[in-house]
Subunit: 243 residues, 2 copies
Amino acid sequence: MNSLLSDVRLPLYQRLRDQLAQQIAANRWRAGEAIPTEATLASEYGLSVGTVRKAIDMLVSEHILERQQGRGTFIRRPQFDSSLFRFFRFQSLSGERQVPESRVLVVEPMSAPSAVSESLRLRPEADVIRLLRLRLLESEPVLVEEIWLPREPFEAILDIDLNEQGPLLYPIYEQLCGQVVASADETLTAEPVSDVHGRLLRIAEGSPVVVIERLARDYAGQPLEWRRSRGRASHFRYSVEIR
Amino acid sequence: MNSLLSDVRLPLYQRLRDQLAQQIAANRWRAGEAIPTEATLASEYGLSVGTVRKAIDMLVSEHILERQQGRGTFIRRPQFDSSLFRFFRFQSLSGERQVPESRVLVVEPMSAPSAVSESLRLRPEADVIRLLRLRLLESEPVLVEEIWLPREPFEAILDIDLNEQGPLLYPIYEQLCGQVVASADETLTAEPVSDVHGRLLRIAEGSPVVVIERLARDYAGQPLEWRRSRGRASHFRYSVEIR
DNA sequence: GAGTGGTCTAGACCACTCA
DNA sequence: GAGTGGTCTAGACCACTCA
């Protein structure tokens, strides 16, 4: 029988939630894999099923686990459903939603500028890889993206032709470099476009662009990628409900 | 003993949640008032306390109810904590967060332009009131707001001097017109500023502004106010976490 | 049909509030 | 000390999955 560590003043369901979260971060199970059943966890930890369910409820509402009635409870594969990129109107002429194509313009190893080394929590001037790419819909540029990766686990990116891959980078990180993006923080700002980026997006210098910065992390919370994407403000509309 | 209406195929906690939500919308209790205790609801509806707790849990996570251990469960006063306006950096020079002052420039009755009558769900050209106001921090303009109200419940706004009131309109709506804002939808876009708004915000025409549109509703979901606010993009930074 | 999560109950005991 | 919500248990039965 396992036992719950952590602060004994906390409720049992909270302590179980923390213990499970820690094991998930330590990769005890892979994305898509099932954790033990509620009954198993209950007997392992000497808790009632109700208490185990409450711990799992918390991790489900945090989007870390996913229940499937009759099948089990699974480590959730990251969906990026809530990404701010969803709020760019990337539609084809026929109106259906599409993933923009990718055209990689630059792939280069370099030493990290200070903003990059700070974001990725690397030492100053650490070895990094910089990507510059354009995202297009029906040959129209919709986003310019600058992407920074620590060189160490991502070295293999330098040896392949990214333009022969699909438009999504995260599957490549996973298959080529064994790095899984589990969560991300995004921030949204707006600014007048620079000369260079305006030319790439085919809009006049000074036109408003929406800037989305994203720091992506693995399951342990370790930064994997930092990117800054710019898209035409006229294609962006974000909504929230307030109560 | 009360009985649960609604679809008998739904779980009991879901049906109780719906029934409570309906009574809250129908103003059975005021904001800040307590609903009956869990034990009372359980015996009234012939349910176990566990089932009642699950229904209340749902309404709590929807920010409709608020629990206070030892005191009771209360109708939540709207907080507007999650409003997009929170992401404007409205700080004084000393760095503390402030509610910007309000200077009302225009208060006029008129017939609704089509965008306004559609948003407020009024008939075309219905009588409305238009406000134009500037929000300032230490005499610096930070937001321009256009606000539209249906004339019928808000008539009294025309008879007072809004510049002698505080900067917040919702308490005035409540005290003067008996209208309580319970929820709102907001959308965020960015655009180059017009000549007129640029002059009010003291920025060059064409500089990027963040535009926040808000439709505010009462407890029954009836639209009460539509506003469109513009602020300098350089003062705006919005963050989300993705999993 | 064995195994999973989903719903629901009845009840014990605890922590907190407030007169 | 009476009354509130918070935690936890043990167990029944249901709905769904999958071989």
